[in-house]
Symmetry: C2
Subunit: 179 residues, 2 copies
DNA sequence: TCCTGTAGATTTAGAGCTAAACATACAGGA
DNA sequence: TCCTGTATGTTTAGCTCTAAATCTACAGGA
């Protein structure tokens, strides 16, 4: 047995989890559970779906994230490692490894940047263009189907609430007590 | 440099990403981006926060997920590997590894289940109890602060929309064409 | 020129996960 | 009894990430 229930059928609901903590450890604050638990569940379902879809297309999510970021940047499809770190939201070490893997497969090239000799310019190769253009279309088409259950107004509202949560989490969490 | 901007300050907005694809590859369906991109960003901010918070408390997220699931189950704080797989939403192999790590640290024990000789009963030790009770309170208190930016009604609505999205993604994505 | 600081990038150690292969325990029929 | 199927766990290979240490290129002051 390798699998776990992808639809969360065996999983406990966020309400049940909060109720269980309230019963087992009375007094713990449980109101964040109703937001954070469903959020991670959905994120996991979507990540699993993306991994499988891309597996069928012959790419892995980390590499496609790299290629997509370069492709979206527009001509000349080149960014420095530092820019990639900012846009992909992973550490510089992770970018370095992603680029090394992609370079090994002939999807990108590495060269000293024209601006600074410290900076490294990562550029999409023709093969990289082929891969990204072939897979992004398939991926976005598939993901479009995953969100059909939400009406346009619901999607807009969901995106809005997620943005608000992101601001709240990033602002309040980093430093500590600020009240 | 090891870090990346935790608050997403250097990141491109979901709207910009969709606009970039529309410009670079006209015709690709981009309407899922407004939901999926913010969702993963928030999930990542929360995961990073949790990892750091738990790091300070001396536990790792995967182990705490295991211990919490056992703790929430109530007396006698024992579940089989299969039950853990269903509730933690990771593969059986991952559970096996989590349990092995936790057992090595004296946080849980493994024993043949009384019901079936195939099944393995994983039980919380006294030390496991100590760890989970010490850390869960701190973790939930911290996460409470991360969601203060959302009013109660907004939290409720967000949880509701996330549930609807989960149902949509799990239902529509697994099989393929079902029209 | 030498020292010091800083920024950009890479390397390495150690987690943690999935998928797939394997091992084990039964159950049910011939 | 033997065979077959199925459920439960474990192991292994390979990927990917973070955090920390390291390397390299400069810049600015003494």
């Amino acid at each position: 047995m390798t699998e776990y229930p992808l639809d969360g059928s065996g999983a406990i609901s966020a309400v049940d989890i909060a109720a269980a903590w309230d019963r087992e450890l009375p007094g713990v604050p449980t109101s964040s559970i109703g937001v954070i638990t469903p959020l991670w569940r959905v994120a996991k379902v979507l990540a699993d779906e993306r991994r499988r879809t891309l597996g069928r297309l012959g790419v892995d999510p980390a590499t496609l994230d790299l290629l997509s970021t370069l492709r979206r940047a527009g001509e000349p499809w080149t960014l420095t490692t530092r820019e990639l770190t900012e846009r992909c939201l992973v550490t510089a070490g992770a970018i370095s490894q992603r680029v090394a893997r992609a370079e090994r497969e002939g999807l990108v090239t590495r060269a000293p940047s024209s601006a600074s000799r410290r900076a490294v310019a990562v550029a999409l190769t023709e093969r990289g263009h082929d891969v990204v253009e072939r897979t992004v279309r398939g991926l976005l088409t598939h993901e479009e189907e995953l969100v059909v259950g939400l009406a346009p107004e619901e999607r807009r509202r969901l995106g809005e609430l997620l943005g608000k949560l992101a601001a709240s989490a990033a602002g309040g969490g980093g430093v500590g007590g600020e009240g």
